[in-house]
Amino acid sequence: MSRWQADDDEARLDALLARTQASAIAAIKGALDLEAGKRAIFAMHSAGRLRSAVPDHGPLAEVGADIAMMLALLRTCRDDGAAHDAAMPYVHAIRHNLTLLQSGLPEHTLDRDAAVRLAAHAGHALREARRRLRITPVRQAPAEPSELLDALDEVDRRLQALRAKLTHDDITKGVSP
């Protein structure tokens, strides 16, 4: 291949990548609700709690990061068929309780009892989701529910650590009256 041919290939690849990037960004822009995204961020940081609400370090920040990770784990599970469907209402319940914790802890609107209760509800839903995965007959594929089970195992481990922190550490201090 001549040098000119190589240069031409490079230029064509650059152009193709640039077109792909531009098209993808345009599609993303069309699908995302940017206003809602900004509103969510401003709401989280509202009322002058910019610094105190979401600390960069410390137990509350660690808990926040842990909850975000658990939610991400539950979001990235493939739809695995019948057993997955049976467990999904409980997975939604886990997400719901974790989301309440995620928003309530940095806002200091949850006292320790309420936070522990939400974590317990999440734990109960998690146990039920695992039970459903195990008892639902697998018809479509032998390894059907394994991915969600793996995610639930990891979330369970993190949730137990979170419950210990909520129970023993004073991370809910500063709760609004």
């Binding site: 960069d56 784990l73 990235t76």
Partner: protein, 173 residues
């Protein structure tokens, strides 16, 4: 002019809002180029902006900072998934954003995105930063590596892409 108190906060919020409008979609693309599925990319991008707003007035290079945070978060997510899975990829999911992109993107562009996901992680990272306008020296600084390593990864990534895209690539307009 020095602005203080509420006025400074209003300026910061307006700045941030403008930055969010300009960069959010690009950051989602960046994560897609790193191999995330669309919904995960949107979540991680939003999460990075949440963190950015908390330190907004301290950020000197917010575009690079956001990408580092998002890339690290994606790496954390991958590591957890990898404990049980053999693949280094996050699972593909059909979600609203993926569906929108499937409709909007041409076959050629979908092929490029699929090909990006086949690249080794280091090459994918180098290319994703490069496509977002960072020089090899800047990429090296952000990824804490040497510029020569970035250039090598870019070279290999581009060579692999050309091979995978097959004959006739890049001719469609």
């Amino acid at each position: 002019m020095i602005v203080g108190g509420e006025e400074a906060k209003t300026v910061a919020v307006a700045d941030f809002a403008e930055f969010y409008d300009r960069e959010m979609s690009s950051l989602v693309w960046f994560l897609l180029a790193l191999g995330a599925d669309a919904d995960t990319a949107a979540d991680l991008a939003q999460n990075a902006f949440v963190k950015a707003f908390g330190v907004w007035d301290e950020l000197r290079h917010p575009k690079a900072w956001l990408r580092r945070v998002a890339q690290n978060d994606l790496g954390d997510l991958r590591r957890i998934r990898q404990r049980e899975a053999a693949s280094d990829e996050l699972p593909e999911r059909e979600d609203a954003l993926s569906a929108a992109m499937a409709v909007e993107l041409r076959d050629e562009h979908r092929s490029v995105i699929s090909a990006l996901k086949l690249l080794p992680v280091k090459q994918r990272e180098a290319l994703a930063w490069y496509l977002d306008g960072f020089s090899p020296a800047e990429i090296a600084e952000c990824l804490e590596t040497r510029p020569v390593a970035v250039r090598q990864n870019l070279f290999k990534a581009r060579r692999s892409l050309r091979a995978w895209l097959g004959p006739g690539w890049g001719e469609a307009r």
